[in-house]
Structures are given as structure tokens and as C-alpha cells.
């Protein structure tokens, strides 16, 4: 299991467009990615509704996890989408 902790940039957090970009990146990633708060419950990063329900605000830390083949690549793509939604989009 690969794991990565990311600080969400200031701003709207994982809501609105950044959330959509993140979920789309997770959907394209070669392995399943989950997301949650440190020590908290993890949800499917490909589910926009689950991600929105986490209600992650700008400046918060979140943990990304992936398993199996392509796990590292999937985490890198998901992290990039969080840190730079404009570049990751499309």
C-alpha cells in the first residue's frame, strides 16, 4: 500500500472545480485511489459525492492511498491534481 499526505492549497478546498479535477484525475489513474483525513475514514477518490461530503477546506491535510500495480503513478497524478488543478485539467 502506497500512501501520500498532501496539504490542500488555500482557496475553496476540495470543492467545486478543484474537486472535479481531482476526481477526474483519480478516474484516469491506473490504480484505485482513496482519500481521507489523517486517521479518518477513507472514501473512493473517484466518487465526487464522497469527496464533496468529506468537506475538505483549503489548508487542510489529507491522505491519499493506492494499492497494487500503478499505485505510485496514481498517487502522483492525484497529488498533482490537488496541488495544481489548472495544469491537471483536461
Amino acid at each position: 500500500m502506497a500512501e501520500l499526505t498532501v496539504t490542500v492549497p488555500d482557496g475553496v478546498g476540495l470543492h467545486a472545480r478543484p474537486a472535479a479535477v481531482f476526481v477526474q484525475a483519480a478516474a484516469r489513474a491506473p490504480a484505485d485511489v482513496t482519500v481521507g483525513r489523517p486517521g479518518g475514514e477513507h472514501v473512493n477518490a473517484r466518487s465526487i459525492l464522497a469527496v464533496l461530503a468529506l468537506d475538505v477546506r483549503g489548508g487542510e491535510q489529507i491522505v491519499l492511498r493506492a494499492d497494487g500495480d500503478g499505485a505510485d503513478e496514481a498517487l502522483a497524478a492525484a497529488e498533482k491534481a490537488i496541488l495544481d488543478p489548472d495544469a491537471a485539467h483536461g
Binding site: 470543492h15 472545480r17 476526481v23 466518487s47 459525492l49 464522497a50
Partner: protein, 580 residues
């Protein structure tokens, strides 16, 4: 879990049987002309699907869910591509919700527990709705998005129209139970070939917006939303009040020829209003804001016969200051320098409550403290409005006349005229005739007032004791009824006897045939929405005053609205050639 026995599509709708049968629906023509285009169903509220146990094929039910979710997502993405920009990002985010894999798992779970597709979708969305709602106000917009997507998916599964106004890509006929101002506010007139509504009457919002857009409309058309499927080609005849489903090519060609004739007629129409033998009938416009004045001037309005001043007051908790009112009135009056503008003072009641008028809730606002009755309880508001109108007219050079709404008798008329004179108004002061008592005793009213203006919408409502807002009573809201024509004749005769003008500013004036009849009854000017002016001008110019009088007499001799209309049209031979 049940075995797969049915293939996908077994439950789908029957293929359209174009050409096999001609179906005609009848309603009330509310905006003239004809239009052809594919039907677009505009939905109202989507019902909550009942939680009745599902005993059919679960695999097929799951496939229906998948299809509906995917179709809604594709539709949102498609709209996004067409809209571009920020709207695209918003719509794509919504599409992601419809494609959410966790949501799909929830739907599967509910179907496997024995629920119908629609109920399973309702339940699954409900789970996420509750989660998002927990996050508080911050998430309110997402909850609304989610509800919207749920309604779209459920509507598909139930086979009912999706909520809200669909975005139009081709010139279409909009079919709805009824339309609200929010639905029509952003419509592009070039993309609307016609309106069909089940509810509403000739004075409903849909009818008024259709006339303003110069698009045909048929209202009070029972069964329209169930008989008409999305995409079916419709021919809307707003003159006859008919709708044809999948018309054949000969019918379409004939309709197109009529439309061409009508367009040619309208483009030739210009100049002041008069009958063929030169009897002058000033043609005026109804305006409710500065935005309306451009259309009025472009359509060749000789002035304004009804300036609705409500826009200055609505949504206010305190009365606007006199200075502010002067500015707002000037913006409307400035285009009409040297021309007549008849302003109606504030027409409010318990249905449009304004805090500063202090009108209490009433069981029946149409029969309550409204119009002049309300203003007489707030004399300061009336006095300030009269002064502001007068000042705005002086600065713009418009020839101002002012009238009061909801006048019942001579005492009302006198109170209004005295209030006007007390504020120094020198121009004509008149009253609207909307209450039968005012029409019956117009002569005594004209002992005080300088002119009459018939508001046929309210006069019809009060004559037949039939609420304008109640769709099931729409059949009564027909200005062709001889009872209404008798009242118009009574008021017009009183005007002629007193040598004072009696105009019509209700929507009745916008129907070419009825406009001729009104002139035949002795009405001296006609005021209507700008879009109706060219056809009315042409219809009048094509007939003599004597023909108009004969049409009026024939209509009054009839016993029903339909007979009156037929009799009048028989006396006005040029109408058919004009496409009116």
C-alpha cells in the same frame, strides 16, 4: 438476484408512428400566428416515486437505471460544451455526479432490495443529499445540484418531462403545464416557434410573453403534456387555437404560405391607425418599463395607452422617493416627447402586497383593497406618484394623461380626479373600466373623469366571476363573449354621448378581428403590446368603419364567444387574406 430474462429496451417507449395518424389538439389561441417545430417538453416538479415493491426483472431494472444516469450525464456534458466557459465547468461537475461510481453502487443495492428503478435512484441520491446537507450552508448549492440531477434521472425513468427549461438548439415548440416568468426570462425568441400550455388563459404569463415575443401560443390545451411526446413535430395555430401533431407536408406548406403572407402584411404596415375609409383610431402601446419603449417606437406606436408603473414599487419595503420616481418615469417617457402617454397609477393589492400600503392579507385579493381603493388609504403615496409623473412629463415633453385602476363608480372617479387636481396635474385624468359597475354607469363617471380606458382582462374576470389565475376557468376568460361586448358598448356609448375618449388597453385590443369589433362598438383608441401593433393596424386599414360596426352588431347578436367570433369574422372578409 433475478436471472436476466429480458433484453435491454423491452421496457422502452414505442417507436413514433409518424404519418400513420393525424392528431389535433384544441385549446385557446392566445397569441396569433402559426409556428412549426419539434416539441420540447418543459417539466414542472418531478414527483417522488412511490416505494412500491418491484417484482419484475431486476437486471432489466438495473439497466434502465444505468441508461438513465448515463443519458443525464451525457446531456449535461453536451449542454456544457455548447455553453462553454464557466457554465461548462459547472455542468461537467454535475455530470460527474450522475456518473458517480459510489452512487451507482447505492442504486444497485436498492434495486436488489426490491425497489423500482425510479425509487432506487431517489433513495441513492437521498443518501448523498443527507451527507452533503450535513456540511451546512457551504454545500447548499451542491445539494440543489444533486436534487436537480436526481429529478432529471427520475423524470427519465418515470417518462415525465425533466424539470426546468431545457436549453434549445433548434427552433422548437415549448410544451408545458404552465410557464413561470423564471422559465421564459432567458428564452431566445429566434429559437421559439410556439408555446403550448395545458393551463393558463389568454391573460396568463405565457400568453403575455408570447405576444410580446410575437410567437404563436395555444393555452388551456387539456392533455397537451401527455399527448405530445418530446421531438414530435408540431404545427401551432395560435389564431385558431389548434395544434397538429406530425402534420403532413401539404398542411405544412399551407401554413408556411399563411405565415409568409402574414410576414409580408406586417412589413408593409406603417403610419397612424385608421379604417379603410379614414376613421382615425390611434394605435398605442402598453409598456411596463423603459425596455418596452424601444419596441413600442419601433412598431410605430403613436403613443402609450397604458404605462404600468408597478415596476417602480415592486419588491420595495418603503415607497420610493419622489425624486427617484421622477428619474424612473423619465426613462420611459423620454421617447414619447410630443406624444400621448397614459400612465396608470400604482395597481397593487393583497396578491402583490406592498408593505408601505399596509394591505392586510385577504381571502380574495381580486375583490379586495386593490388599485385605487388601496391608494385612497395611502394618500401620500398617491400624491407623491402624481407629482413625480407630472414632473417627469414636464421634463420630457410627453403629453401625460393619468388614470386610476379599479374604479367602481362616480365617487371613486371623483376622488381620483380631485387628488390629481390637488397635485396640480393639468392634463386629462381618467379611469380604467375594469369593474362591470363602472361600465354600466360610465355616464356618471364621465361627469368627473376626462376619459375611459377599458381593461378587458379584469373586466372579463369580474363580469364572469372567474379568476384569471385559475386555469380550469380559462374558458370564461374570453373577451369575445357578447356579455363583455355589451359592457364595452355601454362604456363607449357613454363616451360618445359625453364627447370624451373611450379606449381599450386590455389584451383584447391585440387580436385583429376583435380590434375591428371594438372600433365598431365605438372605442376611440386601442393600446396593446408592441408586437401586436402591425397586424392590428393592417386589419383596421383593410376594413371600413361600417364593416367594423356590422361585425360588432353581428358579434353582439350571438349567444356565445365562439359564435360571436365566427359572426364577426364573417363580416370582416379581409382578415383571412392577411393571415390574421
Amino acid at each position: 438476484m433475478a436471472e436476466v430474462t429480458a433484453s435491454r429496451g423491452d421496457e422502452s417507449v414505442q417507436p413514433a408512428s409518424a404519418g400513420e395518424r393525424v392528431v389535433t389538439l384544441t385549446g385557446v389561441g392566445a397569441s396569433l400566428g402559426m409556428g412549426i417545430g419539434p416539441a420540447v417538453l418543459v417539466g414542472g416538479e418531478v414527483p417522488e416515486p412511490p416505494d412500491t415493491p418491484f417484482t419484475g426483472d431486476r437486471q432489466a431494472e438495473l439497466a434502465r437505471c444505468e441508461d438513465a444516469l448515463a443519458a443525464v450525464a451525457a446531456d449535461l456534458e453536451d449542454r456544457g460544451r455548447r455553453a462553454g466557459g464557466d457554465a461548462q465547468a459547472v455542468l461537467e461537475a454535475q455530470a460527474l455526479m450522475a456518473r458517480d461510481p459510489d452512487l451507482a453502487q447505492e442504486v444497485i443495492r436498492h434495486v436488489n432490495e426490491g425497489r423500482t428503478a425510479a425509487r432506487a435512484v431517489h433513495e441513492a441520491f437521498g443518501t448523498y443529499r443527507a451527507l452533503l446537507a450535513l456540511a451546512g450552508d457551504y454545500m447548499a448549492a451542491r445539494v440543489a445540484d444533486l436534487d436537480d440531477i436526481r429529478d432529471r434521472v427520475v423524470a427519465r425513468l418515470l417518462g415525465v418531462a425533466a424539470p426546468g427549461m431545457p436549453s434549445l438548439t433548434t427552433r422548437s415548440v415549448l410544451v408545458a403545464r404552465d410557464l413561470a416568468p423564471a422559465d421564459t426570462a432567458l428564452l431566445d425568441p429566434l429559437l421559439v416557434a410556439g408555446f403550448v400550455t395545458e393551463e393558463g388563459g389568454p391573460t396568463s404569463h405565457t400568453a403575455i410573453i408570447a405576444r410580446a415575443m410575437n410567437v404563436p401560443a395555444v393555452v388551456a390545451c387539456a392533455g397537451a403534456t401527455s399527448a405530445i411526446r418530446a421531438g414530435v413535430r408540431l404545427l401551432v395555430d395560435g389564431t385558431a387555437g389548434l395544434i397538429q401533431l406530425e402534420p403532413d407536408e401539404a398542411t405544412v406548406a399551407a401554413a408556411q404560405a399563411t405565415m409568409t403572407r402574414r410576414a409580408a402584411t406586417m412589413s408593409r404596415s406603417s403610419g397612424p391607425g385608421a379604417t379603410a375609409d379614414g376613421h382615425r383610431v390611434p394605435l398605442l402601446a402598453n409598456v411596463g418599463s423603459a425596455a418596452d419603449t424601444a419596441a413600442a417606437l419601433e412598431a410605430g406606436a403613436e403613443g402609450v395607452g397604458l404605462f404600468r408603473t408597478e415596476f417602480v414599487f415592486l419588491d420595495r419595503t418603503t415607497a420610493p422617493s419622489e425624486d427617484e420616481q421622477v428619474g424612473l418615469y423619465q426613462a420611459v417617457l423620454v421617447g414619447f416627447s410630443g406624444r400621448k402617454v397614459v400612465a396608470r397609477v400604482l395597481d397593487a393589492g393583497a396578491d402583490k402586497p406592498l408593505a408601505f400600503l399596509g394591505i392586510a392579507a385577504e381571502p380574495n385579493p381580486a375583490l379586495g383593497v386593490r388599485g385605487l381603493r388601496a391608494l385612497l388609504t395611502a394618500p401620500d403615496v398617491l400624491a407623491a406618484q402624481l407629482r413625480a409623473l407630472s414632473a417627469a412629463a414636464a421634463q420630457t415633453g410627453a403629453l401625460l394623461e393619468v388614470m386610476a385602476p379599479m374604479v367602481a363608480d362616480a365617487a371613486d372617479a371623483r376622488a381620483f380626479v380631485e387628488a390629481g387636481r390637488a397635485q396640480g396635474l393639468e392634463g386629462p385624468l381618467g379611469v380604467m373600466v375594469e369593474v362591470p359597475s363602472a361600465a354600466l354607469r360610465a355616464r356618471s363617471i364621465l361627469e368627473h373623469a376626462d376619459f375611459l380606458s377599458l381593461g378587458t382582462n379584469d373586466l372579463t374576470q369580474y363580469t364572469f366571476a372567474a379568476d384569471r389565475q385559475v386555469g380550469s376557468l380559462a374558458a370564461y376568460q374570453n373577451p369575445w363573449h357578447p356579455a363583455l361586448l355589451d359592457l364595452v358598448a355601454a362604456a363607449a356609448s357613454a363616451g360618445q354621448a359625453a364627447g370624451k375618449p373611450c379606449g381599450v388597453c386590455g389584451e383584447a385590443a391585440s387580436t385583429p378581428a376583435l380590434a375591428c369589433v371594438l372600433v365598431g362598438l365605438g372605442v376611440t383608441s386601442l393600446s396593446m403590446s408592441a408586437g401586436a401593433l402591425p397586424m392590428v393596424r393592417t386589419a383596421l386599414a383593410a376594413h371600413t368603419l361600417e364593416q367594423c360596426r356590422q361585425a360588432a352588431a353581428a358579434a353582439r347578436a350571438a349567444t356565445s364567444a365562439a359564435e360571436a367570433r365566427a359572426a364577426a369574422r364573417a363580416s370582416l372578409p379581409a382578415l383571412a387574406d392577411l393571415g390574421a
